[in-house]
């Protein structure tokens, strides 16, 4: 009876709290969510304690380490910006390993010094015990860091330093903790044991990473063959990552590093093998799991705080807190001076301050302290109290004040810009330039290694692990993504009347550019940013809640899209034939997509040569993925729908007319057969039957690879009268 009451009490307030917390928007900007959750936990703990007069159930360390921690780390590792991570890897590693060592030993020794002062009544705590305590309290906690940094949006560099450190220091923490614990239980300690400890660190860290990578590869390999059974793809991702964690823990290696390595590996390869839907599922499920875990962790922390397992000692507790802060600050400062020599972009004082301030402690040290064997540690309750005080301080005080500090210090924030192809081009170009210069210099820099890895990757790994391996260019994939996004949005939002459809890229003779109306560009941009529906977005989304925005609207619009598509499709089918005739009659010819039947062949041909984007559950959709196939893809979308048209015809005619009017005049006349509305009106440019691509002469069409291309080469531009209209260059595609 009491347990069910307990469960009920837990659930309802939690849900309500979270819900109302997010409704009241201002609150998360002031108080990080973790604080509120701890408060809720405290409240609950208090209620239970008051009701039952005994300590509420304490968070079981097993539960924490086996069930609650892995999802969070998995989520973090999967969405880690790998490039940035590896660029800063040296610094991160330096902070994680040396920094944690510095902190642990520093705190341990200074606390021991304090304990020696008999006035405080702490003399029975030995050096080893202090060292152990130091090691478990010095670990920066990824959960807490995530929770707090999520909202303040510092620049990625800073974020990755703190967060990377919190992930990597698990190896050190595990080693130190186990080392000191066993030392505490041993009679004598020889020097050889210390060296064994050091060696153990390498084994733990590297072993964990290797296990993670190995299982990541296995997962990628498995997903290579799952195209017949799409439904269980997400399962593999979660299974293998959890497996890596458990395996590492089983061998007493670092589970966190294993799961991080596994997630990063999987991310790279699995993403290309799984279908769009699986990808979305994985993403959402991961976020959900990690949110739930985080919530539970903080609440449990709050609940566990209330109770009888405390021993308060002013000196110990306050000095612990003090030393934590001092040693952290000192450590960051000293280490940065050293590492700045090796960095090309030195870290400024502001950066250092934020790094030091961002060293939050959380649930890991909390659980570790509960795991201490009480037989060896008679003062365990004292440790627990001290740990709780430190955690509360860092999470509450530091968590709340970091945001105003960041603003006060004017730390560089991240600017979330919309991905743009031109940027991608510049970045790529720039990388190559750098690599080239490094080659000329004979310098084996970062770029050199990255290049080498990429070559190795392309040659062996990708062939092995990815199903349809196409050499991937980030520019092209980004471009395709944006184009498809755009096209779908065009279809769904219908006819934007102010579209000057004719705007196209320059008359290539002159090499000039005729721009789109800027209002439309703005419109498109907005549309593009909103529309994430079918597009796989390789987001660096380490924000726990960043998914919420994309999800909703698109789903609702999907049905609308499909209906319109199907309508257009049916219209197009009826009209395509009749369109041919007037087209032939005119001197100006249309570029039309003649028969639907031709498409499948073309698509299949394309399938071999294009990389997959899109939902392969509609397997035909796979085909139309290159830029060139945007129109056929649209056709495919249409074709796949079985819905009957619901809209009356005239609407299309009107819509179409709008577009025509908006366009340059010349076109209008060509649309004389406008009584046959173009079904694919929605697409501003990849229109199946529009003459937008200028007018081609028939011969040119056949000479070309076939009229299926939405973008015939500019040499086919004809009409002199519309000098500014070109063939095929899609001005507003990105």
């Amino acid at each position: 009876m009491s347990s069910s009451v307990f469960a009920m009490k837990m659930k309802l307030p939690c849900n309500h709290c979270l819900f109302s917390f997010h409704l009241y928007h201002k609150l998360p900007s002031i108080v990080p969510e973790s604080c509120l959750l701890i408060l809720v936990g405290l409240l609950l703990g208090g209620i239970i304690f008051g009701a039952e007069e005994k300590s509420p159930p304490v968070m079981n360390s097993d539960v924490f380490f086996l069930y609650l921690l892995p999802p969070i780390v998995l989520d973090a590792g999967y969405f880690m910006p790998t490039r940035l991570f590896f660029e800063n890897f040296g610094t991160i590693f330096w902070y994680a390993v040396v920094g944690t060592l510095w902190n642990a030993i520093g705190i341990g020794i200074s606390l021991y010094g304090i304990c020696q002062i008999s006035a405080f009544g702490l003399t029975d705590i030995t050096l080893l015990q202090n060292l152990l305590f130091g090691s478990l309290i010095s670990a920066v906690d990824p959960v807490a860091v995530l929770a707090v940094f999520e909202n303040i949006h510092v620049n990625e560099q800073l974020y990755i330093l703190v967060f990377g450190e919190s992930l990597l220091n698990d190896a050190i923490t595990v080693v130190l903790y186990n080392l000191f614990k066993s030392f505490c239980q041993m009679r004598t300690i020889k020097v050889i044991d210390i060296f064994a400890g050091i060696a153990n660190f390498f084994i733990v860290g590297i072993g964990g990473v290797l296990i993670g990578i190995l299982l990541g590869f296995v997962a990628a390999f498995t997903t290579r063959f799952t195209h017949k059974i799409r439904v269980i793809e997400p399962l593999f991702v979660f299974l293998y990552s959890y497996l890596s964690y458990i395996t590492a823990e089983m061998f007493h290696l670092s589970g966190i590093m294993a799961i991080t390595a596994c997630a990063m590996t999987m991310n790279k390869y699995v993403e290309e093998n799984v279908s769009q839907k699986s990808y979305t599922t994985i993403k959402y499920f991961m976020k959900m799991l990690s949110s739930v875990s985080e919530t539970l962790i903080f609440i449990f922390m709050g609940v566990s705080t209330v109770g009888k397992n405390h021993e308060w000692n002013w000196a110990f507790v306050s000095f612990t807190l003090l030393f934590c802060l001092i040693w952290r600050a000192l450590g960051v400062f000293v280490l940065t001076q050293i590492i700045n020599v090796f960095r090309t972009i030195p870290l400024t004082f502001k950066d250092q301050f934020i790094i030091a301030y961002g060293g939050l402690r959380g649930a890991i040290c909390f659980s570790l302290v509960f795991l201490l064997p009480p037989a060896v540690f008679p003062r365990k309750k004292l440790f627990i109290t001290a740990v709780i005080v430190v955690i509360f301080f860092t999470v509450f005080i530091q968590g709340i004040t970091i945001r105003p500090l960041v603003e006060f210090l004017d730390v560089k924030r991240s600017n979330k810009k919309q991905p743009a192809v031109s940027e991608e081009i510049y970045n790529r170009f720039f990388d190559h330039v750098k690599t080239g210069i490094e080659d000329v210099c004979g310098h084996w820099g970062h770029n050199f290694w990255r290049d080498k890895f990429k070559k190795f990757d392309n040659k062996y790994l990708r062939r092995l692990l990815i199903r349809e391996n196409q050499p991937k260019s980030s520019i092209v994939s980004l471009y395709k993504k944006l184009e498809i996004k755009h096209a779908i949005e065009m279809a769904e939002s219908g006819m934007i009347s102010k579209v000057p459809s004719s705007v196209s890229l320059s008359d290539y003779h002159e090499g000039k550019i005729k721009p789109l109306s800027p209002a439309e560009m703005e419109n498109m941009r907005e549309i593009l940013t909103k529309n994430l529906y079918q597009i796989r977005h390789r987001t660096m989304s380490y924000n726990r809640h960043s998914l919420a925005a994309d999800a909703g609207e698109k789903q609702a619009k999907e049905i609308l899209i499909r209906r319109r598509h199907s309508l257009r499709e049916s219209l197009r089918k009826t009209n395509s034939l009749s369109r041919e005739r007037p087209a032939a009659a005119n001197t100006k010819r249309f570029l039309s997509l003649p028969k639907n039947t031709k498409l499948p062949e073309k698509l299949r041909v394309r399938n071999k040569t294009s990389s997959r984007v899109g939902d392969s559950s509609d397997s035909e959709l796979d085909a139309a993925t290159t830029v060139l196939n945007l129109r056929p893809r649209a056709g495919k979308i249409l074709r796949d729908q079985r819905l009957r048209p619901q809209r009356p015809l005239p609407e299309f005619r009107v819509e179409w007319k709008n577009e025509v009017d908006g366009s340059q005049d010349g076109r209008g006349e060509q649309q004389e057969p406008s009584t046959l509305p173009q079904p694919s009106i929605g697409f501003r440019q990849p229109l199946l039957t529009r003459p937008r691509f200028g007018t081609l002469s028939r011969e040119d069409l056949t000479a070309d690879h076939g009229p299926a291309r939405p973008m015939p080469p500019p040499r086919l531009v004809r009409q002199a009268s519309q000098g500014d209209r070109t063939v095929g260059n899609k001005p507003w595609t990105y």
């Binding site: 170009f429 004979g442 520019i475 000039k512």
Partner: protein, 204 residues
């Protein structure tokens, strides 16, 4: 040596390193020609190899008044080009930083603008994208072209904003180029660690 150091901003150590490298590249001659760059094995795989080599000989980069291409460059010129890739120093003030940044961006701009007319036209941009994507055998030229076009449109909208329907966008000028790179810390990214120059990478 001293004045070289002052002019280009390198330390004497770095200059020595680079001199060694220069000698290796030039096979102990006093000047380097384009052909010497062929001896760098890794450069072969770089898709924009042509542009990089070209940049070394571009007179605009060499800070000479004239235009066009030099046939050969001496060590001083080599250093001048390399100085574009110096990392920033902590003690630079705002104005120096700004100048530094502009120089680096100008270097990049010259790589895009192959006909030296001061603006990146559509054709030049297309050229760049095609070269960039040339490593990918499955990509047709049209894709590259449309990508370039799309990017150009973006550039137009960023740089010029509101354009009337009849306005024509000539090309990306240097100011526009600056605008596009505004958000990005080029001065921190565009650097090579010159101190660690080893003559490990041999040219054959």
């Amino acid at each position: 040596m001293r004045e070289l150091a002052d002019r280009t901003g390198f330390t004497s150590e770095q200059i020595e390193h680079l001199h060694r490298r220069f000698k290796q590249l030039s096979q102990d001659q006093l000047t380097i020609r384009k052909e010497n760059f062929d001896s760098i094995p890794d450069l072969e795989f770089n898709p924009i190899r042509g542009k990089i080599v070209h940049a070394f000989f571009d007179k605009r980069n060499l800070r000479q008044e004239s235009d066009g291409l030099a046939d050969e460059i001496n060590f001083e010129d080599f250093l001048t080009i390399m100085s574009y890739f110096r990392p920033i120093e902590m003690n630079m003030d705002e104005e120096q930083l700004d100048r530094f940044r502009k120089e680096k961006l100008k270097f990049l701009f010259h790589m895009y603008d192959s006909d030296h007319d001061g603006k990146i036209t559509l054709q030049e941009y297309r050229n760049v994208v095609e070269e960039l994507l040339s490593g990918n055998p499955h990509l047709e030229k049209e894709s590259a072209r449309s990508i370039a076009d799309g990017a150009m449109m973006e550039a137009a909208s960023i740089c010029v904003g509101q354009m009337g329907p009849d306005q024509v966008y000539e090309g990306i000028t240097f100011e526009d180029f600056l605008k596009m790179w505004q958000g990005i810390d080029i001065e921190t990214k565009m650097h090579v660690r010159f101190l660690n120059v080893d003559t490990i990478a041999h040219c054959y």
